[in-house]
């Protein structure tokens, strides 16, 4: 963290990133008022991820950081992806099987949470 032979990002880059972030904020707000079905959520998340990458790479200097820093960050997001993927995989595949089971609510009597 305290290497002093650091790359100094020019002010111009910061300003361009700032303007891009403002533009993307306007874009995500505008898109929310257009009916895209399930793609509203996809668009909102995609724009948020792009904004996050801009902040991480440029404002947080990760583009110019040592590989170890990058590895730590990638590992963190990989771990977060595990959490989200397996939670969602569980949540959205419950009660898919038409075969009644004995350990939980069957599809003929859906659990209240599935309303």
């Amino acid at each position: 963290m305290a290497e002093h032979a650091e790359h100094i990002v020019p002010v111009k880059t910061y300003v361009i990133i700032f303007l891009s972030l403002l533009f993307l904020t306007g874009l995500t707000t505008g898109v929310a008022y257009i009916d895209l079905g399930p793609f509203n959520t996809v668009a909102a998340l995609a724009i948020a991820v792009i904004k996050m990458l801009l902040v991480i790479l440029f404002f947080m200097h990760v583009k110019y950081s040592p590989k170890l820093t990058k590895l730590v960050i990638v590992a963190a997001f990989f771990w977060l992806a595990l959490l989200l993927t397996f939670t969602m995989a569980d949540e959205f595949t419950r009660n898919w099987s038409p075969i009644p089971n004995n350990w939980g609510p069957s599809i003929s009597a859906p659990a209240p949470r599935m309303q």
Binding site: L22, K51, T69
Partner: protein, 198 residues
């Protein structure tokens, strides 16, 4: 610092994960709750916070190039923008209080609730809204404390071209808190189906 931020990613990630689960379970009520939130507050605050991230980045730049005066100015501007964010957030909370939208304490919304909506689940949405935004606001307050310390150190001329790590690390923290809001804004305010229905 990055390792600390990794723990923060997991902390907020867990909250987002919980929000996603309950949103999936009670989608209609969560969409109603989301539409009640006022986009103007959320969007303005996003812009304010992005602006504060720019000035924070410029403060780090000033520290790297050894410009003490510019560093102090940018730190102050960043803090002012941070306080503007918290002010807007507070105004929004007051609105929610007046509209009976505070779960547990004062929850009896009248407007914007279509017939047949499950009110307890709208209340659950507002539990998430308040908890996630309050935790984020707490991070902002902590950030303001850190920036105050930096400002004092800069005033005492403790930083130089070769020693500015504290400014840089505080910058990382500030940008991280910005990123959390970058996700909170669309997920809470925007994806509730704001377009005209039917």
């Amino acid at each position: 610092m990055w390792v600390f931020l990794v723990t923060e990613i997991m902390f907020f990630g867990g909250l987002f994960c919980g929000y996603a689960i309950y949103r999936g379970m009670y989608l209609p009520a969560f969409e109603v709750g989301s539409r009640i939130l006022e986009v103007k507050f959320g969007a303005t605050n996003t812009a304010v916070l992005i602006g504060s991230s720019l000035t924070m980045a410029l403060a780090v730049h000033a520290a790297q190039t050894g410009k003490r005066k510019a560093l102090m100015i940018f730190l102050v501007v960043t803090m002012v923008l941070g306080m503007v964010f918290l002010g807007i957030k507070f105004t929004e909370y007051v609105h929610k209080w007046n509209e009976f939208l505070v779960p547990g304490l004062r929850f009896a919304p009248t407007e914007g609730i279509p017939a047949g909506t499950s009110l307890p689940h709208v209340e659950l949405f507002f539990c998430f809204y308040f908890f996630m935004t309050l935790v984020h606001a707490l991070h902002m307050v902590i950030g303001l404390g850190i920036l105050t310390t930096l400002l004092i150190l800069a005033y005492k001329n403790r930083f130089s071209k070769t020693y500015f790590a504290p400014v840089e690390v505080a910058g990382l923290y500030w940008h991280f808190v910005d990123i959390v809001w970058i996700f909170l804004f669309p997920l809470l305010y925007l994806i509730g189906g704001r377009y005209p229905h039917g």
